[in-house]
Symmetry: C2
Subunit: 491 residues, 2 copies
């Protein structure tokens, strides 16, 4: 008792010197709580004994009060269960919700004390569990070794004597996971790093947020691709930075243009996605990469290198990250574990010099104290046993097959509706539709066929871009056929 | 193959027109990779067949190159296992780590492109798994229903068809958990709210961070308690706000002083912990609460009410949160689920009007996209089955007993070393030691006895405060005896 009850002694005032009988005061107090919404239809009142002890009155007084309320229709008494606020109340005048500054009311002026991050324009659509979802490039959670992670998680949760040590690890993340990541990244990306150069974050987005928070000041300029990952653009603008958009073509971002900008006035930051650029999936060419490294060194240009799906490359060898070359400490490298396992799993990492990692972890502590260290340890175990590496090999093989099949189907069935280039890696195809097929309109028509596709309200790139990322990696053959078939019917 | 190998074709340059034999070029290329740290002792090289295919050369050429390297001492060939970089290398001139701006080197100037959030002064001490940890007020993970959570988590992870719907929930969190929290908070705290007034966050700290980000501008003033929760102070200062410190006494924060400040120049924010204030554990009195609500309404004062352990109250009824009264939408209410389960679990919530929740969730999306929705659903299940409520009842009963026992032991064994008031709720005692016993010194002496206590470097309140929070809730009788016994020996 106690924990889940309202503190009735503070809510119902009893005046023992009043002319109103005490049972009546209690009943009126309860009606008042119902009227102002603190007690809602279906809530259970405490047993009379408990209520009496809280209010420091006689139990029979409470019984009388409850009986009064029952007679007036406020309470339902259910034998052997207790007293419940009636579902159909005799009179209802609920006060407006306290925290709600209702639109059009005189309370509206009060909502000006906080920032408006965005206008309310996103159309909220409900997704039923039986609808097929076309995402913008998620892995297939059905093939991920989620059970191993949860089994390890549960195993660790019982080893409570270990928790204190884990909690005492740096805010930069569990030392086991930092160690495994340093090894894995050195082996796959030629990053010459130690665990102290690794910070684990609750998703790669948080890594971008923290890196940008350390680098940007209000008024800073940021070079971004045109197009670019929308949530990065929004984040930088939210921080008061000014975007300088540089064209992205089939060889990646225009590096000559970056040099021109640096010559005029060195910007505060370059945000770049060299592999499978978001949204267009193009990869920065070798030549541009070398030139960009020169620019970074010459102009001391701070860089956030967002390499969210380096591991998923289907042709030749991937080009090495900027962070693996000589960049004089200016490149902060960011990657994602969510992309290798499942979108429900929120883990990313940030790679940088050890002082920057230390500053970033102090900042991270202010944002979220720490991550779920047991979960981080469970993921470390997955790397340590080699299961993650096996999962990656399996995924790359499967996603390459799916890419080939998806692109074939797009070409042969709906090639006249849209344009795309086959991506050499990643989990999505960047498709631009001909003007007759607007994305919001297509999304509406697909929804009628049981398919949920982003209607462009989440990713609004530009007014004149009628493009969307179509994630193929999470779709099996049957699902692809369903989607492409439905798209074909939209012609 | 492929995924976990370095992209050798980009790392080793082969010139077919050179006078140097190709096997020699390959060997030299590998030595170069070893010298600059991209290949480290113990790394395995690809099988000759795979390397040949990557470099587009003959396999026998690779075999010759590997043999050359073995003879020179760069490689260990292990029968039936493969070719490994030798542990003892013939010559080692590793380049300095790329991302590391080494102190004192000429690279140091390059580390000025990011903000220094804090000076590097925290002494990092390692905690062994066998040491007893005295925390600053954590729940006891040993009694938490962690298994139920992980079982549900695993169950949901297999229901992959549900994931898309969950991912499509608002960034404000899983709708099930928002619904359960709205019910729970209405029943326990008289908050008149609906699910749309609830945002779930990855820990209560993130809720504070997001709320403050929406309210503060550079130069804003924030009223905080003196003393106050250190990580909130640091966060506000990091955001460019100016702290106005208002004395906290045995009845909570000095509300008259808050009124004086508002009269002179209304501040941008009040951050308050009305229940079991951090660090001192005092609770705001009824009278001050009523007066403070008047001030909030009159001066339209935005408030972050941090109510991190409302559920743990051991005397009479708890005072209701400010957020449950008429505050005209100015109070943002924040609570923690980590505090009711275990510190490894990172979940908190933010309660506000629905427009503010919407803005906060757009902001949250920029910070971390979303939480782990499967985990949020698992916690919702715990509320839904009533297991959370039973766990809370059990915890409150146990922690009350532990508080009583801990305070008895402190009084009878080490009463002359320190001063404290028995807290009426929460999980810690605020103890101030006499000047002879400095906290860092005590921590050092306790460490020798196998006890890990914060040495004050994490929470440095003020130079003249020799106080620390001693968490009792997570200690069983034996652990309390060990700690108090060790403290006694420090006299």
């Amino acid at each position: 008792m106690g924990v889940q009850l309202l503190p009735y002694s503070n809510l119902i005032e009893i005046n023992k010197h009043s002319a109103v009988p005490i049972f009546k005061q209690v009943a009126e107090g309860i009606v008042f709580l119902i009227r102002n919404g603190k007690l809602k239809p279906g809530y259970q009142l405490p047993a009379s004994r408990d209520m009496a002890s809280m209010l420091k009155i006689n139990r029979t007084t409470v019984v009388s009060a409850y009986e009064e309320l029952r007679l007036e229709g406020w309470l339902n008494v259910i034998e052997r269960k207790g007293n419940f606020i009636a579902q159909e109340l005799p009179v209802i005048h609920p006060k407006p919700l306290e925290p709600l500054a209702a639109k059009g009311s005189k309370q509206q002026e009060d909502s000006n004390f906080y920032k408006k991050v965005a206008a309310r324009q996103v159309s909220k659509r409900t997704l039923s569990p039986h609808q097929l979802m076309i995402n913008d490039g998620y892995p297939d959670a059905r093939i991920a070794p989620l059970e191993s992670i949860y089994d390890r998680y549960k195993f660790l949760s019982k080893r409570v004597h270990l928790h204190s040590r884990l909690l005492n690890d740096s805010a930069a993340g569990s030392m086991s996971l930092r160690t495994e990541l340093a090894l894995f990244l050195a082996k796959t990306r030629a990053l010459n790093i130690e665990p102290r150069h690794v910070m684990v974050t609750h998703g790669a987005q948080l890594a971008i947020f923290i890196a940008a928070s350390l680098i940007l000041r209000p008024g800073s300029t940021v070079i971004v691709g045109d197009l670019n990952y929308v949530l990065a653009d929004r984040l930088f603008e939210q921080m008061g930075a000014k975007l300088i958009k540089v064209k992205v073509d089939e060889n990646g971002i225009d590096v000559d243009e970056i040099e021109n900008i640096c010559k005029k006035s060195p910007p505060g930051l370059l945000y770049i996605i060299p592999h499978h650029h978001h949204p267009t999936t193009v990869t920065l060419s070798k030549e541009r990469r070398i030139k960009l490294l020169d620019i970074i060194r010459q102009y001391r240009l701070p860089v956030i290198e967002d390499d969210y799906d380096y591991d998923f490359h289907y042709e030749n060898s991937p080009i090495l990250p900027l962070a693996s070359a000589d960049h004089k400490g200016y490149v902060i490298y960011i990657g994602s574990i969510s992309k290798t396992l499942a979108p429900t799993i929120r883990l990313g990492y940030l790679i940088a010099g050890d002082d920057l990692i230390w500053q970033a972890s102090v900042f991270k502590q202010m944002v979220e104290i720490r991550g779920d260290v047991l979960f981080e340890e469970s993921i470390a175990h997955l790397f340590n046993t080699g299961e993650m590496q096996r999962h990656l090999r399996k995924s790359v093989k499967l996603y390459k097959e799916r890419r080939d099949m998806f692109c074939d189907m797009l070409n042969s069935c709906v090639g006249n509706l849209l344009h795309f280039n086959m991506p050499n890696g990643g989990m999505a195809v960047w498709a631009t539709f001909t003007p007759e097929y607007s994305i919001p309109d297509l999304a509406r028509r697909l929804a009628e066929k049981g398919i949920f596709m982003n209607d462009g309200s989440l990713y609004r790139y530009k007014d004149d871009v009628n493009g969307i990322r179509l994630g193929f990696a999470s779709l099996n053959t049957e699902e692809m056929q369903k989607f492409i078939g439905a798209l074909k019917e939209c012609r």
